[in-house]
Point group: C2
Chain length 476, copies 2
């Protein structure tokens, strides 16, 4: 503990916390602690006097009771895959890290009712597997699903590529068990599809990034497994054309439209260049591409429906070209072009990122304006905006000019953010659409939100965490 700042938590207090979980599960050796202190993009590093790994809800409650009494800040962490610094302690050495990974039981699967009760430390992949074993689908789909955990998915109201049809994590949570700031446990593990008996308290904790309470378990809603899916890759002359295709697909397919992702030409070029085996499915280049997925039951025919949507769109000159996957392998290839989009940008130098959303109908106008603005700000920069067009959620990433100095380019991060976020504000959009606020965007919120909203958020924080010990300095 010699590396800790002088105002760190006292040895005595660390010992009291450690006693609550037992010495085996209170990590103080720097080598044991290290993996908890760095997140995977290495944007945040912190220190902590102790990593507590409780094995039960009662232990989490005991930790928070002591933290409340002693005013000790607690940083909850589950899969440590967050992108905004919400799960990493700061450098004060005062923040105690509470890892939820030992709460990893699937408590029950209700195969008849289509629900599942799981603890916060269960990985998203394990939830997928348990749902499949019971003949259901848990639709939340993230690139990190092998390592991210349900507690974090709930705390950040996770999104992904299936939101269009199934909603964010919020829509998939039926009930919660939460340890409150003072150690009281709220048991809201209901399996009810309708319940208007008082305030819907679970909504408070979903997406609050651990600042209002610590989620220890949840009841999740399962959905029917589609018997068949169909996937297509369409070439488009403009983002406006992509919107037109989206609207046609939504009106025609309704809830059967389970994916609509946007990719720019430059993104596809990066992918073909850097992703082994990737190739352009279409003969000629197009300014934009859309990946469409339809899902259906046994009697529905998503392939025929998608074929109709595409042939109509080609005839109406909304789409310029399209390829309909003829096999599962080809469908997987199309999805790989989309899923590789983040990774391949690393090979093109520095990338300045924005996780924004605007109303769906405004995506084309927003893109035109934001692309022009960043190109004016940094001549030669290479915008690669892509993502969940069906949700109005665009990962507006901008790669550095070819041959530019990476460090110098990345030094302009905040300046570019300011330009893009100003445009987002004019479209009544969000500057934290999918990844949350954490530490990365906390200061930003006050700039973009009206004072009444900021006051309301602070009112809630004070009411539920009067001592400010739950993930302090995050979100609000």
């Amino acid at each position: 503990m010699s590396a800790l700042p002088s105002d760190a938590v006292s040895r005595d207090l660390v010992a009291r916390f450690a006693a609550l979980v037992g010495p085996r599960h209170a990590l103080t050796d720097p080598a044991d602690i290290a993996p908890y202190l760095v997140e995977w993009r290495d944007l945040y590093r912190g220190v902590t006097p102790v990593v507590l790994r409780p094995g039960s809800v009662a232990e989490v409650a005991a930790i928070l009771k002591l933290a409340h009494e002693t005013g000790t800040p607690i940083i909850p962490q589950s899969g440590n895959t967050g992108l905004v610094g919400g799960q990493t302690p700061d450098c004060s050495g005062r923040e105690v890290l509470l890892s939820l990974t030992r709460l990893d039981k699937v408590r029950t699967v209700d195969a008849e009712g289509g629900t599942m009760t799981v603890e916060a430390g269960v990985t998203l992949q394990a939830v997928h597997d348990a749902a499949e074993a019971a003949g259901w689908l848990f639709p939340l789909t993230l690139a990190s699903q092998g390592s991210c955990r349900i507690g974090g998915n709930i705390a950040t109201n996770a999104g992904g590529t299936a939101v269009l049809a199934y909603g964010n994590m919020r829509e998939l949570v039926m009930g919660l068990e939460v340890v409150l700031a003072d150690g009281r446990v709220w048991n809201g593990l209901r399996r009810l599809r309708k319940d208007n008996a008082g305030y819907d308290l679970k909504q408070l904790f979903i997406g609050a990034e651990g600042t209002l309470g610590i989620v220890t378990a949840a009841v999740l809603k399962l959905v029917a497994r589609p018997a068949r899916t169909a996937v297509a890759f369409a070439g488009l002359d403009s983002a406006q054309a992509a919107l037109g295709l989206l609207e046609r697909a939504r009106r025609r397919a309704g809830p059967a439209l389970t994916g609509f992702e946007l990719l720019p030409r430059r993104g596809l070029e990066f992918t073909v260049r850097h992703l082994p085996g990737a190739r352009d499915p279409l003969a000629d280049p197009h300014a934009w591409y859309a990946l469409l997925e339809l899902s259906g039951g046994q009697e529905a025919d998503p392939q025929a429906m998608l074929e109709e949507i595409l042939s109509d769109a080609l005839e109406a000159e909304v789409a310029a070209d399209a390829a309909l996957a003829q096999s599962e392998a080809q469908a997987a290839d199309f999805w790989r072009l989309r899923h590789g989009m983040s990774e391949v940008q690393k090979h093109e130098g520095g990338s300045i990122k924005h996780d924004i959303s605007v109303p769906v109908a405004e995506v084309p106008a927003f893109l035109d304006e934001a692309i022009a603005a960043v190109e004016a700000l940094v001549p030669g920069c290479r915008p690669v905006p892509f993502g969940h067009m069906g949700d109005g959620n665009i990962h507006f990433n901008v790669s550095q000019p070819v041959g530019a100095d990476k460090v110098a380019y990345l030094a302009g991060w905040d300046a570019m953010n300011a330009v893009v976020h100003a445009i987002v504000a004019r479209y009544d959009g969000s500057v934290a659409a999918e990844h949350g606020v954490g530490r990365l965007k906390r200061a930003l919120l006050a700039d973009v939100k009206d004072p009444v909203e900021m006051e309301l958020m602070r009112t809630l924080k004070r009411a539920l965490d009067p001592k400010g010990i739950l993930n302090p300095g995050r979100v609000v």
Copy 2:
């Protein structure tokens, strides 16, 4: 105002409130006020010194500012169709009624993005019509939709028969404009499908029955209009068989299953007896019936899908008999059997009602137990449990014994409620699944909820309405 109790609001204060909306829109004549003071089942009557009918959000804000300063209780009301006394003032004469019916503009329809921004006083029917005009569907469907209004639908998190596929009102609200207890206005009228920039404040106000803020406008989510629907009426030997049929339909049809309603034999008999033109679609009597609806796009064939589901269920002896509607008129007839279910019970004497939900898979066991319990409590009573089986939400109504005294029977309302709600509690169910808490079930909540949940609710109420002026004595 001679009928008001002596501690009523002073004439001077009434005049100050009236000045905020102008004399034409401040009703004090008892004849003008009367329609606002009685709800349609006539279970609640109240008095008020003045009915305020603001014509703008600014006027609502000015009213709440004055109410906050003077500690005057405000009862918000929109369509006055609530069933739990939430919208009716009490008899103290101290409560000022704030009617939102003049805020009745559809502000914008975003046909490209599939959203609509409406004021609180717009009727649900007008929302349906505006959505249809733009080529979309607003799926919330209630018997009262000609008179209920969006503000009330949001405040009570309304349900209805389309929840199975589209969710409650909560899932259909994208943004809100809310006047807070002290008159501040929160503008959260976002049209974003993804937004994790801070706490999701709108969730606080949806379903809070006007106790945490007054909703003045909302952004609603529109969905694709299904090109075709298919409806069937199935006869079943048991509620367990209904659950089996539901599970088959959900797994096979997924999101295409847009309705699954349960009716008991006795309910069908009441309907055939009292609803003009109603007839039993099946040749032989069955203990239970399910009404199924599937919806699909142009290429999907819900009729064929439903036929497959039914023939499989008949073969597996899950269903005893079934009729598939062969025309829109026949489909409407089937739905009429369901929609008449509340009305026809009036012809059979007194009815003691319970608006409950349990986990979907527990519905059969709950029904067996609750039916046996009320029959033991009141020999000869006639249970008519019906409703939204797909949501686990049963309107557990019990008609009086044939020939019994209605008043004497209804005097046993609380005693029967206690018996049924105790069973609901054992199934981790809700005693206010769809209609809310209001005044009717406020005292009940403390009996059925754990103390931590009650404390959390009171914490929120104190934080957002410190003077307790917003719909006091309702919910919490």
